[in-house]
Symmetry: C2
Subunit: 339 residues, 2 copies
DNA sequence: ATCACGGATGGTAACGTTAACCAGCTGAAC
DNA sequence: GTTCAGCTGGTTAACGTTACCATCCGTGAT
């Protein structure tokens, strides 16, 4: 409860001026060793710690050594892995990280980013919701550097790190086609989420390229979480002429499909790798991406910007990796099709 | 790049004094509606946003509306679920959250907490490494409120939220005993981690209570991550007189055991529930705890402290839940023991 | 003895905001 | 017409730090 000691207190105790204390604390040259020792001693005695709020205010020209990290949901393994690698990069550079989850809600995104910006963050690693275009433009005009991860910010001229969602999905679909599947269902989260849209386009393109029509009865968007996904699968399987294979647009949806299809009734390939995918029966084939690499790259790009890199916005596309574990070959229909 | 507008700029544009702007921005009464409107207009025109760094400096008596969250590893699903619920509570109250991972390294913990404290956080939700006792005492003397989660801070008089690790473990061990197992191996992370120690004690007590000797060949501490755990299992199973059952001290170790025992060669019960545990073959029985509840409770307690609650430190113990999925009944030895 | 110089230290003003007063103005009551 | 209350708005001084400049002292050259 005792008021925190300030440089003034330290100065009084050490019998020197405020400025000398400031110099010692900042590790600047130009202080005699004995004087410095006396100051250090006073600092220890009082338990003094610099107030970085005051410091940041005074030297506002410099950066505040704080960044903001805004993701969809911190509890999601994909985003938490990403967050950890952003935090590691920040720690290496002596930066602090403010975090916020948006829940894919533009209003909460706005709240969070606004609060971060009021705290004078130097930059943001952002998984954008898709809203708040004008708002972000205003933030960037104020000097806040922004780097998008996982999804680009539509209509915003910023750096972006993401994977090639279309190509990754197309590979997965071709894998299913090669196993003889033609009735391949698509399960995805809300189409407004850029990654989901891209993956759906990849699905459509791969199907069309194979000369197949996309059956709208086999398409489900807007699946939030595994429960809804499981229900969608059960629903489709109960209908007439069910699919023989499913493509799932993210890890949670894949989980739902696994729950619904524990009895090997259909083939399944999902986007995003997940823990124990290889230990299931059958092991699940996936399109895998590396969230830690995404986070690391994003952070590095952001710190480059903070250090003054003002080249044109970059767009980094990382590759996905298809991991064939066998689940694409289940329940292959007899040759000849359904005619 | 343009310098951020300040209240001064807004005042000039609106043709009022600085104080009037401050009052409008803070939403204080005592400003005529028309004047306020003029100020609002200027704010919009300039894109003004309050500088909370300056604000916090001036009103240091009040709190800075920022808390720090320090966990072992943000990428670990357990901690990320906890983090998300802490963040939700903070968001509801208009607080910001700084995060840091310690990697169970007291030095990094110290770095991170020190930086948070220099930023004048009002409180900390902390998963303590076990080191830095004196350091934390100093921080708390400065007025930083601390609440520990998952593990108590030994020798520190602070609030703590954790589960009953001994009782949870004992339940698991008794479950295995009831299935006829007597050679039950213990696999855990570093014993210096409080939870691991507690779980080991629970194991020992349950074994002794059943009149069984604890065979040191069946004990492995210090397993960091699933890979080491899998190797430990393989090693034990290859030895003479292998165990018929394993208890694993955390989720990652359980994962390793699953990897090593995919072929149902032994019984297994683990601490911490995990995604897909029920979809494995066999489904894995676990002692489950609720990380979101831990985080929520910790945050609520912390905000209570920040709001002035200065009652004696509380210790909240949440119950664990044993989920029997069948993996405890595998490979039951023939009655009569090993003689 | 004087001067220039460099290293050490101190004084002062700012950073952007708010707390605590204080000064006008209006209008109503006497 | 004076007074006082009530409201609006302004002035000043902080918060804890650092940028900038001034001062002081000892040394060596002239």
């Amino acid at each position: 409860m005792a008021a925190r000691p300030t440089m003034k207190d330290v100065a009084k105790t050490a019998g020197v001026s405020l400025m000398t204390v400031s110099r010692v604390v900042a590790g600047e040259a130009g202080v005699a060793p004995q004087t410095a020792a006396r100051v250090e001693e006073a600092i220890r005695a009082l338990g003094y710690q610099r107030n970085d709020i005051a410091r940041n205010l005074r030297r506002k020209a410099q950066d505040s050594r704080t960044i903001g990290l805004v993701v969809d949901d911190l509890a999601n393994p994909f985003f938490s892995a990403l967050a950890r690698s952003v935090e590691d990069e920040a720690y290496r550079r002596g930066f602090l990280v403010l975090v916020g989850s948006t829940n894919d809600d533009p209003r909460r995104e706005r709240d969070v980013v606004s609060a971060f910006s009021a705290r004078q963050v130097d930059g943001l690693v952002l998984v954008p919701t898709g809203g708040n275009r004008a708002f972000f433009r205003a933030q960037m005009a104020r000097g806040v550097k922004v780097v998008c991860v996982d999804r680009p910010a539509t209509g915003l001229d910023v750096d972006c790190i993401a994977v090639d969602n279309r190509a990754g999905t197309a590979t997965a679909i071709r894998h299913l086609l090669n196993h003889g599947h033609t009735r391949i269902a698509y399960l995805g989260d809300r189409q407004e989420i850029w990654t989901q849209h891209e993956r759906f386009v990849g699905y459509t393109e791969a199907m069309t390229a194979a000369g197949l029509e996309v059956d709208s009865l086999l398409i489900r968007h807007g699946l939030r979480g595994h429960r809804e996904a499981a229900a969608a699968v059960a629903d489709m399987m109960a209908g007439p002429n069910p699919p023989t294979a499913f493509f799932s647009g993210n890890d949670l949806v894949t989980l739902g499909a696994v729950e619904a299809g524990a009895s090997r009734r259909f083939a399944l390939v999902g986007f995003d790798d997940f823990v124990l995918a290889d230990k299931l029966d059958p092991p699940i084939s996936v399109v895998s991406q590396d969230p830690a690499a995404l986070g690391r790259t994003a952070a590095q790009l952001l710190f480059g910007r903070i250090d003054g890199d003002d080249a044109a916005p970059r767009s980094v596309v990382l590759a996905t990796r298809f991991i064939d574990r066998g689940s694409g070959g289940m329940a292959v229909p007899p040759a000849g099709g359904v005619g």
